[in-house]
């Protein structure tokens, strides 16, 4: 930790913040400043304030279209990187053996209930259509939450069910919001505000549509999509049990 008294001096802090924004620090000092920014949110604010003050100078250079090959290289590069949320779904899913078990059990239960006595007036059973295994940003072990999406029946609306992992610490989602990121466009839709202890959320038609078209579900602290991401998970569409 950079707890030096020197870094608590407002003049030193302001000087370092401005010099960082200017790009004038020696590499070793720059690294220390970047470390301090990570450890000290107030200092991070000071640096960003300087960046904002000087930002208009970024408009001085004339625009020059980059060579076309740069975009190709960049896109190839990021597609090859194993970013937290974009690992291949298959390998990510395979690593979550516990949740595979849960999903399989859900499917088995669904099958069992679906083949109940024929011809009797058995209520229509909601179909489990989508599952998102929600990981925290600091994901290192088991996922803390699974969100399952059930389709509507004649008598019940479509809904989300939130099931917590008993083997992990339960994260507070009170006042957090749940968002869906659209698969093709990347547009985001706020699905609902979460409340502490909520386990079931009924969905209207447009909310269901947003879940259906989503690439990811994201739980964000507060009401702003740009806020802190608490959890996120790829939204997986489950095939019908009787499909090969």
């Amino acid at each position: 930790m950079l707890r030096s008294v020197r870094y608590q001096n407002p003049k030193v802090r302001d000087h370092l913040a401005s010099q960082y924004a200017m790009g004038l620090l020696l590499p070793a000092v720059k690294r220390r400043v970047e470390k301090l920014m990570q450890q000290d949110p107030t200092f991070e604010r000071e640096v960003i304030a300087w960046q904002e003050r000087l930002a208009p100078l970024n408009e001085l250079p004339k625009e020059v279209a980059a060579p076309a090959y740069v975009k190709e290289k960049v896109m190839a590069q990021i597609q090859g990187k194993s970013a937290p949320g974009t690992k291949t779904i298959a390998s990510w899913w395979q690593s979550l053996w516990f949740w595979q078990g849960i999903a399989m059990a859900s499917m088995a239960l669904f099958i069992l209930l679906a083949v109940q006595p024929f011809g009797t007036s058995v209520p229509e059973i909601p179909k489990l259509s989508y599952v998102a295994v929600m990981q925290t940003a600091l994901a290192s072990g088991e996922a803390p939450l699974v969100i399952s999406a059930y389709g509507k029946t004649e008598k019940t609306p479509s809904r989300l069910e939130l099931r917590w992992n008993d083997r992990t610490d339960r994260q507070s989602v009170d006042q957090a919001t749940l968002w869906a990121i659209e698969r093709d466009t990347g547009n985001v839709t706020q699905l609902t505000t979460l409340a502490a202890g909520a386990t079931r959320i009924d969905l209207n038609g447009s909310q269901w549509q947003a879940v259906k078209n989503s690439l990811e579900l994201v739980v964000v602290k507060g009401n702003d999509f740009n806020g802190e991401v608490l959890m996120r998970g790829i939204c997986i569409q489950l095939a019908d049990w009787n499909q090969a």
Partner: protein, 179 residues
């Protein structure tokens, strides 16, 4: 697209990139590459090397997008700082290949503010209020990424004087902008 709309687009795309959305990243690239490449070329006039730095910068944007704080600053400023850092790091690792001495940039900013984005007029006005040498050294250092040693050579001034120009100039700019 007007400047406000463009900034909002950049803001929105970066928010999506934070969530690892690759199509949004491609759109962010399309929106910003010409400006960022222009920024790098001022620091590194060699086009091939500048293109390499641009590639590294976008790679870092993808990797570090979650560090962007929308509540504290604009997406565009964050992208510029990251890109400038990348270019400055690269140029400090090697000797400059070509001289970059189109000092018109300094004049462009201080002479005519009519082409600037509205929120930038303030900085232009404040720059005109500080001493000429402070103004020149701040703009040149920022735009060309010149180190203290390079600034000493360009301005033919001792290190202490240069540092003092920059420090006092920045202080006065800050006071003017906050007044």
């Amino acid at each position: 697209m007007n400047q406000d709309a463009w900034k909002r687009e950049v803001e929105q795309r970066l928010a999506q990139v934070k969530l690892r959305h690759q199509p949004a990243f491609a759109e962010l690239y399309d929106l910003t590459n010409a400006k960022l490449y222009g920024l790098i070329l001022k620091i590194i006039p060699d086009e091939g090397l500048a293109a390499d730095v641009l590639q590294d910068a976008y790679s870092k944007i993808w990797t570090n997008a979650d560090q962007y704080r929308a509540d504290l600053g604009s997406a565009w400023s964050w992208l510029c700082q990251l890109t400038r850092n990348q270019a400055i790091d690269r140029i400090r690792q090697r000797k400059r290949l070509n001289e970059t001495d189109d000092s018109t940039v300094v004049e462009d900013f201080s002479a005519d503010t009519s082409t600037l984005w509205p929120e930038h007029v303030d900085l232009g006005r404040c720059l005109q209020l500080i001493k000429k040498e402070q103004q020149n050294v701040i703009i040149s250092s920022y735009v060309y990424g010149w180190s203290h040693a390079e600034l000493m050579e360009k301005f033919d001034a001792p290190l202490g004087t240069l540092k003092s120009w920059i420090r006092r100039g920045l202080q006065e700019l800050r006071e003017c902008l906050e007044a």
